[in-house]
Amino acid sequence: MLTAIVFLPAVGAILMALLARSDRQVRFLSLLITLSVLVLALVVWATIDLDDPNPQWVQRYQWISAFDVQYFLGVDGLSAPLLGLTGLLGVAAVLISWGIKHRTREFFFWLLILQTGITGVFVSLDLLLFFMFWEVELIPMFLLISIWGSGRREYSAMKFLLYTMLSSALMLAGMLVLYFSAGTFDMIALRDAPPSIALITAPGVFFLLLAAFAVKLPVWPFHTWLPDAHTDAPTAASVMLAGVMLKMGAYGIFRICISLFPEVARDYSDLLVTLAVVSVLYGAVMVFRQHDLKRLIAYSSISHMGFVLLGIASLGQVGMTGAAMQMFAHGTITAMLFMVAGLVYEKAHTRHIPDLGGLASRMPLLTIAFMIAGLAALGLPSMSGFVAEILIFLGSFGVYREATILAMFGLVLSAGYILWTAQRVFFGPEKPRFAAIGDVTLVEAAPLAGMIAAIMVVGIYPSFVTDFFDAGLAPIVDLLGAAGG
């Protein structure tokens, strides 16, 4: 089942590339593939047994027996919602790219391959398999940005690639050290029987692994690839980048860094909190300096990912559940913001904020969409962002009082920049040059509506998702408890 979810996009992509006769068929086939993946992912999500702390839907085969490398897939409460999120955004990415005219077939091919890579990361329970999927996502993203992007696309794509490559080399080094100490790549076995690290110190391995995740998340000061990549990427790639790819970083911290090294995580949580707060505030302040709509959203992502790290660093059930929630919520919210930004660009042919203004009367639906996503991003109650942030603050306030208060300023700032942006882009006097543009079409509105539904449902009835994260994180919390403190 999980194999099907992971590889359906890739296999479908190959068949589509070979068989589809027209661009129209390419689009519909891609939609069909991503929709079936979504359905399968939801089935898996819905059938998870929360009382069972072990991974479920397990598929496990020996792969390279000399090194005990396994093909080992499984989901638990932590990964199931992310699997669903990936499925949802996969569909959204296809829909939002409906208007791609340039090298259409290749575009959808790479988009689907990308989805395979990301999905694989969330369900692998073998370190080497995890690494392989982690790398698979690189090439499609590089090509998506550099062929279909805008602005300095080749520069941004290369920067993205170099950052990720270098950091994942460190990750691989960390994994190899783990392997040489324990003789296995099995994440579950490593978690249950922590090896004594012989070659270098345990914190050394922890930081090698963390480096890759911190770049992906991204944490200040490893964030500089993100604004470039997000800004210059085509909308669908931005959606996947911000929506799920950043979550791979946070997921890795949960699944690998903290699960395998609870003591080290405890020892260095001060450092993590500091980085988190700096990311929150730095990202939020930088937002005010941006004139490009997508770049603005990119910096707000950095700020919001800072909250995730803050929740993680609180190392408690509440805060970590909040962090996971924030991953999910940010996935839908930011994906939606990027879609809106992409649509604005497509219709108004500019993302330069000072040039925009008064779009509300021309495109009321898009304005409503932006407002909903924006309000969710600034944490308005009844939306998913609020649930996540309140949990993070509840969790971290008891442990890191000052840091939490500082981070809350980030929230205040986000209220400021969201409303200011809305005012500059959508409200104000109508500009004559935008007199001819129309509102979103049905195909464009569909993914937006889906995102709104996800945001509102989770905001009003959060236990849809929180129950899963709670259950999924409980074993990690137990480990942290056992690690003392």
Binding site: I64, M132, I147
Partner: protein, 479 residues
């Protein structure tokens, strides 16, 4: 002496077929010359079939001079497969660019024969003679495009450097014989094991042997000839040099070091490890500066030779498996890349990296295979290169050569950069012409088979690794 000639069947078949090709060439009218590659192919496949008559046997002939064991069988099948791909890849090129196809295929078959005896050699002089037969075939093939000055220059350079290195190698062999009194691999190992202090003359001989082989496998600092020869030689011959020549040299090296020099491991390990590191660093760094795709691949294959040397330096059962695995994976990927380059040269006559701009729009299938092959060479997951490098590096790390693994991983990262430069041209460059390139059916089949191999070895290496484990089990390993 009672010799079971049945064990020589594959060699007999191959030698016979080489002569058949040369003879048939004399009688074939000019407009039927395109049959020759198919005759050669039949010869190779027939030989491959005959190898199965000796499969599973473990025997020595002439007192250990010629060995029939799983290791030899594995490499015979593998090298014959390389030869078959070589014939397929060069058929079109030869027809278009070279005169006298008869000798081309005849010599090619002789070189395969030489490789087969090289994998079976259990004694220094047998190894040396096989190596010479192989090298002479290659000298001729490298200069086969006699109307192109570059090809002639490549051939001349190759002969001079080759003769020089052979002389060094032979001198080294004579020193080893002089100090230990035997030339069989097992005899050398016995002499070394029974001797507490290793004779200085032997060490000198060992160093000279390493230098001699260093030229053949393009280890730094003995690599200078490779880029010029690779660039000048007819492209299929370049592919053959990069793949077959490396694979068979490493097969011989592995057997030599495991079976003969094993007991003196402490003496040579630092030398080999140092060579490996230098080769990896220099090969990969200089590759970045290349504009000609054949030169770029020449330097990249120098870097790959460095990774392979790591397997010799580590010399353990796992490392030998890793070495064989990487040889197979590297060969598949490199041959896939060269098959694309040959096909592209046949269609356009161009070989600069910038000429590949926009290939993905003119020939998407070839673009995909070439990119996959390059990513595999860089060691990206899903492709063979990742699995093989991972296996090899992990095995080398297991032997405590962690610093070497770090060098190799850094080298792989650098290599990704220059491979990416090509891929960037393929996918992002603007093509000079828009009209699609048409590939012949046989080229599509060849590229498809090699591309599939690159992916299959990366995703499902199990069966191949089983075969490799059987092959390396016959090598004695130092404890």
């Amino acid at each position: 002496m009672n010799v079971d000639f049945a064990l020589f069947i594959p060699e007999f078949v191959m030698a016979g077929m080489a002569l058949v090709v040369l003879t048939v060439d004399l009688f074939l009218p000019q407009d039927r010359k395109h049959w020759l590659p198919y005759i050669a192919l039949v010869g190779i496949l027939g030989t491959m079939g005959s190898v199965f008559t000796i499969a599973g046997k473990s025997e020595e002939l002439y007192g250990g001079l010629f060995l029939v064991d799983n290791f030899a069988v594995f490499f015979k099948v593998f090298l014959l497969a390389v030869g078959a791909f070589m014939v397929l890849a060069s058929a079109e090129y030869v027809k278009k660019n070279l005169t006298r196809p008869g000798e081309f295929y005849g010599i090619l078959l002789f070189s395969i024969l030489a490789m087969m005896t090289m994998t079976a050699a259990g004694e220094l002089l047998t190894a040396y003679i096989s190596l010479e037969l192989f090298s002479f075939s290659l000298y001729i093939l490298a200069s086969y495009a006699i109307h192109r000055p570059k090809s002639v220059e490549a051939g001349l350079k190759y002969i001079l450097v080759g003769a020089f290195s052979s002389a060094i190698l032979l001198y080294g062999l004579s020193l080893i014989y002089g100090s230990l009194g035997t030339t069989t691999f097992s005899g050398i190992a016995d002499a070394l094991a029974g001797n507490d202090d290793i004779p200085v003359a032997f060490l000198a001989g060992l160093v000279l042997v390493v230098v001699g082989f260093g030229f053949k496998i393009t280890a730094v600092p003995f690599h200078m000839w490779a880029p010029d020869v690779y660039e000048g030689a007819p492209t299929p011959v370049t592919a053959y040099l990069a793949v077959a020549s490396k694979a068979v040299s490493f097969a011989l090296l592995l057997r030599l070091f495991a079976m003969a020099f094993g007991p003196a491991m402490d003496e040579w390990r630092p030398i080999i490890a140092g060579l490996a590191a230098a080769t990896i660093v220099l090969g990969n760094l200089v590759a970045m500066a290349q504009h000609n795709i054949k030169r770029m691949l020449a330097y990249s294959s120098i870097g790959q030779a460095g990774y392979l040397l790591m397997g010799i330096a580590a010399l353990s059962p796992l490392a030998s498996n890793g070495l064989l695995f990487h040889i197979v994976g590297y060969s598949a990927a490199n041959f896939a890349a060269f098959a694309c380059i040959i096909a592209y040269e046949n269609l356009t006559g161009k070989e600069e990296i910038s000429d590949y701009a926009g290939l993905s729009r003119r020939q998407p299938f070839m673009a995909l295979v070439l990119s996959g092959a390059l990513f595999s060479l860089a060691g990206l997951p899903v492709f063979a290169g990742f699995a093989t490098k991972f296996y090899l590096f992990a095995a080398v790390g297991n032997e405590g050569l962690l610093w070497l693994v770090i060098v190799a991983v850094a080298g792989s990262l650098v290599s990704l950069y220059y491979y990416l430069m090509v891929i960037k041209q393929i996918y992002l460059g603007e093509p000079e012409e828009d009209e699609p390139l048409r590939l012949s059916v046989s080229t599509v089949g060849l590229l498809g088979a090699l591309g599939a191999a690159v992916v299959i070895f990366g995703v499902y290496p199990g069966p191949l690794i089983n075969l490799i484990e059987k092959a390396t089990a016959v090598l004695p390993m130092p404890v």
